[in-house]
Assembly symmetry: C2
Homo-oligomer: 537 residues x 2
């Protein structure tokens, strides 16, 4: 991922209020139309992007007290841009001007004390508080739906964006939760260090968001989730600040950090973390291996994952995904292998990996060790552009969405086939066309894989969200039937509740609810995420 940390930070003013990333990267109308021509059954003309001034935002129900007024805004652009995350269904609703869920106020605390002050005020004002990093949730994580509170405040942490302290000896840093990926990497780079956490959303998501959602990074093995990079957390809860010791490892009771990792803003607001860093890699090599048979490719990936060689990249694209990414056109599956090290040359390790893949029926494309290769580069740039293309398709009423999961290897093949077959049937039923259901493996483990599915199919204008919701419900059922998790690294939010509720052990649900009631007695923190909102009594 050579480019990830070099991308520059965008200012909030450049951000799209309705879609992904920066507004100026959105495809122009003509390109939307051209793109949709590749999807049989797509609309002919793009939906217009509503003007902010034309949006029917609900009436503001609460005003901040004078002391908090400087950090709060009820400006239509702020409210509109903080209504949803960036799922297909979010973008679609924004394009249709449906902003009934808009928060009343957007708060931008500049200090931890202001976070505390907002929570204190909100508890007394019957206002729900939705912690907001950069709003890249694709699971309804930042969208209030409970309908139980007198008002809703979006708590935007993006002003808390500094690296506060660097411990070069321990290779760790204390970083504020609102720092976007590029901003935190830019502050670490002069020290030769990197957090080396590069989710697809890297430019438009924050450390706090990654921690609250147990985000997955770009790397395919070993440190796949942000969880493993945490040394300690600082969390503002309504009953006090929770700060864990900085520790490289511990066995003192259940890990306090692990309760807050994945708590998605329901137990507290993460304001800082000590994060484990790495030296910047100096040696990189990658190779691409083609397979005629996708199941042989899966076996190769399993061998790689169980080899202890820990590739940084081990990304398998099934035939459809490889064709979509433009890296194979004859029905092959493509495995992109990458190795990185800050310390020693990696060509030997790459050669071992390629040999393993060849032993399982792969044929290696010519590759020059020490550099990336063409197919990998092509795929990488497609990966980063993907969300903008998704938005363009959304404007053409094309359903374009992904979902990811993980399961053990004994179930991987069956799960893959079930999604390809059963979900394709559902897509056909819902959309009347075959559509596209592709798969890649984004992360692999010795005991299983994380398949990531892409669905593309034409929608009926005005019904796009309902149609996707039907497909999504079916996908959650298929995952459940195969013992696969409802999410590997996109979090639960509100959209995944049906699948999450089915897979979460009931005693743990009781424990989590009890913890929530202890830490957030007024029930104001992101109500409806992970747990049903407490009904007001």
């Amino acid at each position: 991922m050579p480019d990830s940390s070099d991308r520059s930070t965008s200012s909030p003013a450049q951000r799209s209020w309705w879609g992904w990333g920066n507004a100026d990267k959105a495809l122009p109308d003509a390109e939307c139309t051209a793109l949709a021509a590749l999807v049989p059954g797509a609309a002919d003309t793009p939906l217009p992007v509503p003007a902010i001034s034309a949006l029917a935002l609900p009436k503001v129900r609460v005003e901040p007290p004078p002391a908090l007024a400087p950090l709060m805004s009820a400006a239509p652009l702020d409210r509109a841009s903080h209504t949803y995350g960036k799922a297909f269904r979010d973008v679609m609703r924004a394009l249709h001007g449906d902003l009934a869920a808009a928060p009343d106020q957007v708060a931008r605390p500049r200090t931890e004390q202001e976070v505390i002050d907002v929570l204190d005020w909100a508890a007394g004002a019957d206002a729900a508080v939705v912690p907001y990093g950069a709003g890249s949730s694709v699971v309804g994580g930042v969208e209030y739906r409970a309908g139980l509170h007198g008002a809703v405040v979006s708590l935007d942490l993006s002003s808390l964006d500094r690296v506060l302290e660097i411990d070069r000896v321990s290779r760790s840093a204390r970083i504020q939760a609102g720092a976007l990926g590029p901003a935190l990497e830019a502050q670490l780079r002069p020290h030769g260090l990197t957090l080396r956490h590069f989710p697809q959303s890297f430019e438009f998501s924050t450390l706090g968001g990654w921690l609250a959602t147990r985000a997955g990074g770009h790397y395919a093995t070993l440190y796949t989730h942000i969880d493993d990079l945490v040394e300690s957390l600082r969390v503002v809860t309504p009953v006090g600040v929770n700060e864990s010791l900085r520790l490289p490892g511990s066995g003192a009771g259940p890990s306090p950090d692990r309760l807050f990792l994945g708590s998605e803003g329901t137990l507290g607001v993460i304001t800082e973390a000590w994060m484990r860093l790495q030296d910047r890699p100096r040696h990189k090599a990658s190779a691409t291996v083609l397979f005629d048979d996708v199941h042989a490719a899966m076996d190769a990936v399993r061998a790689v994952a169980q080899s202890g060689l820990h590739p940084a990249n081990c990304r398998l694209l099934d035939p459809g995904e490889a064709a979509l990414a433009g890296v194979a056109h004859n029905g092959e599956s493509v495995l992109v292998l990458g190795v990185e090290s800050a310390h020693a040359p990696v060509d030997g390790r790459l050669a071992e990996l390629v040999t393993l893949a060849r032993d399982h029926g792969g044929s290696a494309a010519a590759t020059e060790p020490g550099t990336g290769d063409a197919a990998a580069d092509t795929w990488r740039s497609a990966f980063l552009t993907m969300p903008y293309l998704r938005d363009a398709l959304a404007r053409m009423s094309v359903i374009s969405e992904t979902f990811e999961t993980s399961c053990t290897w004994d179930r991987t093949r069956e799960l893959y086939e079930a999604v390809r077959e059963r979900l394709a049937d559902v897509v056909k039923e819902v959309t009347g066309t075959a559509g596209t259901v592709n798969c890649r493996f984004t992360h692999v483990y010795p005991d299983g894989a994380a398949p990531y599915f892409t669905v593309i199919a034409p929608g009926r204008r005005g019904d796009e969200v309902a149609m996707w919701d039907e497909i999504k419900a079916a996908s959650m059922q298929i995952l459940h039937d195969h013992g696969a998790t409802v999410t590997h690294h996109h979090a639960v939010g509100r959209d995944h509740r049906p699948g999450y509720d089915r897979q979460r052990p009931e005693p743990f649900a009781l424990a989590l609810r009890a913890a929530k009631e202890a830490l957030d007695p007024a029930g104001i923190l992101n109500p409806g995420v992970l747990l049903d909102p407490a009904t007001t009594g």
Copy 2:
């Protein structure tokens, strides 16, 4: 650790009721006396081991209902052997015949249903239940002290000792919680697999105990704790069975397993787990490096830990520890490096590690790649014999105990010096002799180390426990003053509560208590561990 998985399982009948391991491995009186001669100020004669028939056990306060009678025992040997763990203070009290804390009954369920039945009965009978694997706790984890319940039942899981299922494709196995290390490895070996978790207590501790206490294994880097090897857990709680999905990785809310890992029997009884396995290593190499300066040795270890080379062994013995283990006698520090792989030769990786150590001022002892070397072997066998020597010293009223911790690298040197100086002063004050305070690093991380201290000093007969408790209290204070954890892998139990309570963030304490009340409403599960026991109302 070539021999660990080959040691045979001992039967409970061979077990020592008062000390470590098997009764026939305890040192005879003459050897106890000879050993103590090395400790200036030690007693001249060994304390006799009390006869079971001579023990003053408290009156049994509860009888099981007929349905549970077949699994319950109030035999003196059972009660005596289930009173304590195996800390110095436990062994000492047993030798003095102090068994006031003996449980009323020892229950040995043979099925999960019987675990449920015992919990159901206990809740109604006002009996506390102390889950018990093989009783190797060194932190008072299996010793009831609350004084609030009508009776106490030790719940011995050792009959649940089978590997129930092996998934060769995913390299994982479903294993019952009561399986001892050798028993579970013996069942995995025919499949070419290993759990590769080798704590010092391996022969006399169980999977369930490892999970409940977040045990540390033998390996110095990467997968240091059992936590990382867990695919899913099955836990009997008083409000129902908690079973998590088998997943290689997930981001669906806070991890359910991480709440039970380290819960030390306070939230439920772990009955089974799906565990991640590994292929048995075929390639091994190790080397020993000597350092004149212990701080240079620490720098070398840090370089190794931050190199990404993931040695299986990276064990640093400070001068005193090296001398005690018989691997160096001229004030050197000794670093034992080991590399293992199931897949590829490891000599190259070992050479890189030795070079790193040399770059930091180490001088490598001659070593033949592909085999262990003599110093490493000597140290290993001393390591496994250590607990029996400790018991022999206890019989000579010699205080002989360890404590372990972890902290980030920026604090490691200071912590080491503080323990060496401040604790040595305390030892002198308490025992009137200089005593011995040594250190080794057992586990290392990119961001810190896990120092493990050994204290040896003569005690006054009859006052040994009080003297150690004074030293222990001082050690917990020193750890706290340096931001180090009260335990890296020995758990909290009851003995570590003062340090744990100081380091645990208060909001997390509230959440944990709330979770406990939700899962164990009658407050019968291991009361006093992690949290104060609920007072009966």
